[in-house]
């Protein structure tokens, strides 16, 4: 069973999974692997690691700056894969998902990227600007090495697309909670709840929710309806504000601990 499946089946009916996002190489390449371990100790159930890109069009200012800080250090896609490989030496169980944009992946080659990701211990990949319609080659490469392909759903996704995107996805579905970019501040929990119900009507895959979850309170609210909450910008901001790499790790871990403490546990599934 894949690491993602194991985590979701272990938590099913008990608690929503917590998935923090960090950008690989932000604030420095040497910090990422220790930061990943610290986030797991703070209560992360899986980790999402961003592959830096010069033009991150779906990201708000916080994560854009994270990408820029990493690129300024010379961090490449290959370097991020190495960070995951380093993490995997000491952690065999926590799923790692890479999130990025398609041009660096196409540049490496879909097959090469898929193989190296799998060898590094990556479990799933989200390519933000690669919708399923353009993803045939990528999906074949990923499934060939057992990588999950996680596609996005959005508030603007129509009913028939929900079905086709679900069919192209494995691991989980990533529901983008708002119209906008990462880190935006206009989350509507009621709207998300209604949309997730319509997603669950067509798929048995777990549904993660991200974009706009900024604090323990909003994480707790969405944890009642989602199988995973994904928190990125709020963590990346804490990393940016830290005076040193050590402080960045401490602040990010403390924040993830507060998120985890806020997630409600369920006695048993009422349904």
């Amino acid at each position: 069973m894949s690491r993602l499946k194991t985590v979701f089946s272990k938590l099913k009916g008990r608690r929503c999974a917590l998935i923090p996002f960090i950008t690989g190489g932000d604030p420095a390449a040497s910090v990422t692997t220790p930061l990943m371990h610290a986030l797991v100790q703070a209560g992360a159930d899986a980790l999402e690691v961003g592959m830096p890109f010069s033009d991150p069009m779906a990201d708000g200012p916080a994560i854009q700056m994270g990408h820029q800080r990493a690129l300024a250090q010379g961090v490449t896609t290959q370097a991020v894969l190495q960070m995951v490989a380093d993490f995997r030496r000491d952690d065999k169980t926590t799923p790692v998902i890479l999130m990025g944009y398609v041009n660096p992946v196409e540049t490496m080659g879909y097959d090469v990227f898929a193989r190296r990701s799998s060898e590094a211990g990556v479990d799933g990949v989200i390519l933000v600007d690669l919708p399923p319609e353009e993803a045939q080659v990528w999906r074949a490469a990923a499934s060939g090495v057992g990588l999950d392909t996680i596609f996005l759903l959005a508030p603007t996704t129509t009913g028939d697309r929900i079905a086709s995107i679900s069919a192209a996805s494995s691991g989980f579905l990533y529901y983008v909670a708002l119209k906008g970019v990462t880190g935006a501040g206009h989350l509507d929990v009621g709207e998300v709840e209604a949309k997730i119900a319509s997603v669950r009507a067509v798929t048995g895959l777990p549904v993660g929710v991200g974009f706009g979850i900024r604090d323990p309170e909003s994480a707790a609210k969405l944890a009642r309806v989602a199988d995973a909450v994904i928190v990125g910008s709020a963590i990346v901001e804490r990393i940016a504000q830290a005076a040193s790499p050590d402080e960045a790790v401490r602040n990010a871990a403390a924040f993830v601990r507060s998120l985890r403490a806020a997630l409600p546990t369920r006695e048993a599934s009422p349904a």
């Binding site: 010069s54 033009d55 069009m57 933000v128 319609e133």
Partner: protein
């Protein structure tokens, strides 16, 4: 065989497509449907034709530049005078079309990216006319070098948003406009200014700009009694070139030349010529095309004296036309473009935009090569008033240091 690109998913061979975050896929499907309906609707086409005539001032003249031709000493050079359009460039052909579509779709707000500011001005203009609110994204560097256009946009009631991330030019303005659109899709229409971006934009912008070539073809037949040997147009994203070329694609005897910006020289790496420099295939801003990027897939910084050509990608249909051999792509550097700017100004009393000056520079070379029996049509895509300060500043620099 008739030309029928793109396919229904917006692919020109391996190029084009829709590479955007999921939030925009639904809105792009609605836009495609609305455009296909409008395209077949005689009322929409009639409204567009009336605006072309009465608001833009079309048809734009095809002008035989006698003194320039004589000075160069070769083919007869004809200028398609898009600089005489309302707002001073070809951009308004497209913004009129997209704004009519926005109105039809019930949108209340227009947004756009701009490099030289011509597309921003053309969008702010149609927004004012239709009573729509308007925000224009522009790189901080371009705001400095195209200050007159920034003032024009503000006078027209648009908010000009300075983009300070990344390279602070057109590429970053487009990133920011796409972020805005993802946030405001319900009431906002994104007016893309070139034959780039996700489907249906490359097709739609080409269709609106195709009026340039339709007119030019009829005009040259009337003036010369035959088709020209060649067409020449500058290519940043490539909308004025696509607009000129489209009506001639099946006229195999007419050679098509797209002129990119070689900046400080193709060898210097400081240019904006992905087609000519043989850049790789890549994905940016919703489309697959030739693109300038490094070994890790990070998009490269570009350089051109002309803000409107300072872009690392190019429209996907140009990539297709290059690979198919139907069109040829060449590059002209800053220095040659500036020389051509002065030639036209002094010989014909026409100040060309620095973008169009790239096409003029190549046309001069081509005219000599083709000889006096030939005729060439150059797209004079915009007027150079906006560039007067840039030219002065650049030549000030040259005279101080050189």
């Amino acid at each position: 065989m008739s030309y029928d690109q793109p396919d229904e998913h917006g692919h020109f061979g391996v190029y084009g497509g829709q590479f955007v975050a999921e939030t925009l896929m639904g809105p792009l499907a609605l836009l495609t449907e609305a455009y296909q309906n409008a395209r077949r609707d005689p009322d929409f086409q009639a409204e567009l034709a009336a605006d072309f005539r009465d608001y833009i001032g079309r048809p734009s003249p095809l002008y035989w530049a006698r003194r320039l031709s004589a000075e160069v000493g070769g083919a007869r050079i004809y200028l398609k005078r898009e600089d005489l359009n309302h707002t001073g460039a070809h951009k308004v052909n497209n913004t009129i079309g997209q704004a009519l579509l926005a109105k039809r779709m019930g949108k209340k707000r227009l947004i756009a990216e701009t490099g030289a500011g011509q597309h921003g001005v053309a969008t702010a203009t149609v927004a004012a006319r239709l009573g729509l609110s308007c925000a224009i994204y522009m790189g901080a560097e371009d705001i400095v070098r195209q200050a007159p256009n920034v003032r024009r946009m503000r006078l027209l009631g648009a908010e000009v948003v300075s983009v300070t991330l990344g390279s602070r030019t057109l590429k970053d303005a487009m990133n920011e406009a796409m972020r805005d659109w993802a946030t405001t899709v319900d009431d906002t229409f994104y007016v893309i200014g070139s034959v780039s971006g996700p489907h249906p934009y490359p097709m739609m912008v080409r269709d609106f700009q195709a009026v340039i070539g339709r007119e030019a073809r009829a005009q040259i037949l009337e003036q010369e009694g035959r088709l020209p040997e060649a067409l020449v147009a500058c290519v940043g994203g490539g909308s004025n070139a696509m607009g000129l070329f489209y009506a001639f694609l099946e006229d195999q005897g007419v050679a098509l030349y797209g002129v990119e910006a070689a900046g400080a020289g193709l060898d210097s790496g400081r240019h904006a010529a992905p087609l000519t420099a043989g850049a790789g295939r890549g994905v940016l801003h919703g489309t697959r095309s030739y693109l300038m990027f490094d070994g890790d897939g990070q998009i490269s910084g570009t350089h051109s004296i002309s803000a409107g050509l300072d872009y690392p990608g190019v429209g996907p249909e140009h990539a297709w036309l290059k690979d198919s051999g139907r069109a040829h792509y060449v590059a002209v550097d800053d220095k040659a473009a500036l020389a051509a700017f002065h030639h036209l100004t002094r010989l014909e009393g026409i100040l060309p935009a620095l973008e169009s000056s790239h096409a003029l520079a190549y046309a001069e070379q081509l005219a000599v090569k083709l000889g006096p029996k030939a005729a060439i049509v150059v797209n004079l895509s915009g007027r150079g008033d906006k560039d007067v300060e840039t030219v002065a500043a650049h030549e000030g620099t040259v005279s101080c240091h050189g």
